[in-house]
């Protein structure tokens, strides 16, 4: 426990009219060097790093305000690893996935680095990024019911996807589509069918097959199992695990479902208010949660047989006007005056387990 919290990333005046003094443009995370000096932002990332996110800031500019959806996020994904990003809604999880894919609205400001195969994704031009999308980095979404074009057969979806990354014969495309469908457990005989002829679970399998047809090295699953029933959910999770093992895929699993996290994750990052407040291996985060928010989140899980349900009071902060210090401070039961002064420095519990709290 330190007497004085170190302001890590965002220097701020301690007191003052925060909302009005907030400049419209994003502030450069000036003091990050201090945080960096402590060690790698996401320790435990050994060799075989597929993607390395460094001090990432993503801000949505609207006419009236700036929403800081990701603030100083750093994490590394290794080959064959399932990395889960958890937190409640409006914490910046999906924004992080969309930032990696650059599927953001036009007027979005992004700072930091996303290093993928030695190249910073934020510096690539549109065409280079387009070539990466679907081929090297793939994304699957929450709502498989609406993610397939109702007018295109499954085969056409594959043909289009394959053709967008280079010329290919229709026969060859069909063959690869059949292989990909087979890998996710959809009978290739259904290639000619249209999306509305499939169930939600089947459509999600098809989305996964489409995402994996090029054998990408990174798969971002944005709430991929949320809208599915538990049985299908379990099937999809098992499938993702199998594919991870088979292709050495790195999976960034974005979810608010702690059951899903426990099921498949190797490592976990807990996001709150646009910040990563705790990260570590799944065991560390689940068995020794260090951040009060993580603890609150874990205790909110409904257990079979328990009569009472605990929850965290309040709402996540408005990221258009985030609190000056720790974003969780207003809801935290261990809040102290220094919590308001700045985002607390990271503390290391082990070489892999890190959390940001003054406690």
């Amino acid at each position: 426990m330190r007497p004085e919290p170190i302001t890590t990333s965002e220097p701020r005046t301690i007191r003052g009219p925060v909302a009005t003094s907030e400049p419209r443009t994003m502030r450069e995370p000036a003091a990050t060097s201090e945080a960096r000096a402590e060690g790698p932002a996401d320790a435990g990332a050994g060799g075989d790093v597929v993607v390395s996110i460094r001090n990432l800031w993503t801000c949505y500019h609207t006419k009236r305000r700036t929403v800081k959806a990701c603030q100083d996020v750093s994490l590394d994904l290794r080959r064959g690893e399932v990395y889960s990003l958890v937190g409640e809604s409006a914490c910046g999880k999906s924004t992080l996935g969309a930032t990696i894919m650059n599927l953001l609205p036009d007027k979005t400001e992004v700072k930091g680095e996303i290093i993928f195969r030695g190249r910073n994704l934020l510096e690539l031009d549109r065409e280079e990024l387009r070539q990466l999308r679907g081929k090297d980095i793939a994304l699957i979404f929450q709502d498989p019911m609406t993610r397939l074009d109702p007018l295109m057969s499954i085969e056409d979806h594959f043909v289009e996807t394959l053709r967008s990354h280079g010329e290919i014969e229709r026969e060859e495309a069909r063959r690869r589509a059949a292989l990909a469908l087979d890998a996710v457990g959809v009978p290739p005989s259904r290639l000619r069918d249209y999306p509305h002829q499939f169930s939600g679970g089947m459509r999600q399998r098809i989305m996964i097959a489409l995402a994996l047809v090029f054998e990408p090295s990174l798969l971002i699953a944005d709430e991929a199992t949320t809208s599915l029933d538990v049985v299908v959910q379990a099937q999809i999770l098992r499938l993702l695990r199998q594919l991870r093992n088979r292709y050495g895929l790195a999976i960034l699993n974005i979810t608010h479902d702690l059951g899903v996290v426990a099921e498949i994750s190797d490592r976990v990052a807990v996001m709150y208010g646009g910040r990563v407040v705790e990260q570590g291996t799944a065991e560390e985060v689940f068995h020794q949660p260090a951040h009060p928010y993580t603890r609150g989140l874990l205790s909110s899980v409904i257990h079979m047989g328990s009569k009472s349900l605990s929850w965290i009071d309040g709402m996540p902060p408005d990221l258009g006007d985030p609190p000056p210090g720790c974003p969780y401070a207003p809801r935290c039961d261990r809040r102290r005056p220094e919590c308001e002064r700045g985002f607390p420095a990271a503390k290391w519990l082990s070489s892999t387990h890190r959390y940001c709290c003054v406690d």
């Binding site: 081929k135 709502d143 397939l148 074009d149 007018l151 295109m152 289009e160 989305m207 995402a211």
Partner: protein, 321 residues
């Protein structure tokens, strides 16, 4: 699933049976599949509409193609009969004031009408639809400029705009088609653009982007097919409208000029005699027959367009079962 009385009656709701018409829906080329779908749709309400529409339009096409064979007289030859003769075996539809044979003029008028309307629709579509797609998908300042231009074109009364363009271009079939098409470009543009705006926000478009589809591919393969369902409807409404605009143009001396056989021309020439009940008490055939030709063709276009619209959209198709 429907049962009985359908072209695919073998696809019952009971236990699976091998083979059957279902096979055609799975195998074969794209053309074969399309045909299989059409065949299985023939006896639904939209199928019946299509059949009637096709019969009417094909009939007109047939008449247009074989006009020289079908027409008993030269439609532009004066005095093949007397003035304003009532329908008789020699002149089944009667004759006009100048002694033209009305049957021959109606038959040849089909040619004129179909040629100009199809040409005008193709020009209007070829300009309006791509502009609408690009404008709607890209947005930003090109969109604003295009919308401004199209809205100002659209704000002119149809006929006046067509007259101005026809006056600038001069008379003739092609110029008449261009004059009519300019009037309808904004309609194709608007419908396409508005539809594009909604389709562009569909999750599957974002999914396609996430899979690496380029802008051009997204417009061509994902947006256009979803937007194109609304085109047949505008096409049929506009085709009907275009015939009327064309008639108006001809009436005022632009576009198609008198000796050429055209229903609109005949109607507009005949209506003057309708008011002269004393001198010419019975000239109903001169307006009624070309008028009927117009109305029936419009009905044919509309039935065809709406029936196709129902069938080309797989979701709509499925929901009717």
């Amino acid at each position: 699933m429907r049962t009985g009385g359908t072209a695919e009656g073998s696809r019952g709701c009971g236990p699976a049976t091998a083979g059957g018409a279902a096979g055609a829906l799975v195998g074969g080329s794209r053309l074969q599949r399309t045909w299989a779908i059409l065949r299985s749709e023939l006896f639904t309400p939209s199928g019946v509409r299509i059949i009637i529409g096709v019969v009417i339009v094909v009939f007109y096409l047939f008449v247009a193609v074989f006009a020289p064979v079908l027409a008993p007289y030269d439609p532009q030859k004066l005095g093949v009969g007397g003035r304003l003769e009532t329908p008789s075996p020699a002149h089944p539809f009667g004759t006009t004031y100048l002694g033209y044979d009305l049957l021959s003029r109606t038959i040849y008028g089909t040619r004129t009408a179909l040629e100009i309307v199809l040409l005008a629709s193709v020009i209007a579509m070829a300009v309006g639809v791509p502009l609408g797609l690009v404008s709607g998908y890209l947005g930003g300042w090109p969109d604003r400029v295009l919308v401004l231009i199209m809205d100002s074109v659209y704000s002119f009364p149809d006929l006046i705009l067509a007259i101005v363009i026809a006056a600038v271009l001069g008379s003739g079939m092609f110029n008449a088609a261009v004059a009519v098409s300019v009037v309808y470009v904004p309609q194709y543009f608007r419908v396409t653009r508005n539809h594009t705006l909604s389709v562009r926000e569909e999750p599957f478009v974002e999914a396609a982007r996430a899979l690496g589809a380029s802008k051009f591919d997204i417009i061509r393969r994902y947006i256009f097919p979803n937007v194109s369902q609304s085109i047949p409807v505008i096409l049929t409404v506009n085709s009907a409208d275009a015939i009327l605009t064309l008639a108006g143009l001809s009436f005022l001396g632009f576009g198609i000029t008198p000796p050429k056989p055209f229903w609109g021309l005949d109607v507009s020439e005949a209506w003057r005699y309708l008011t002269m009940t004393k001198e010419y008490p019975q000239v109903w055939w001169w307006t009624a027959i070309p008028g009927l030709a117009i109305v029936i063709l419009i009905i044919g276009f509309t039935l065809l367009g709406e029936g196709l619209n129902d069938i080309l959209n797989p979701q709509l198709r499925e929901s009717q079962r």
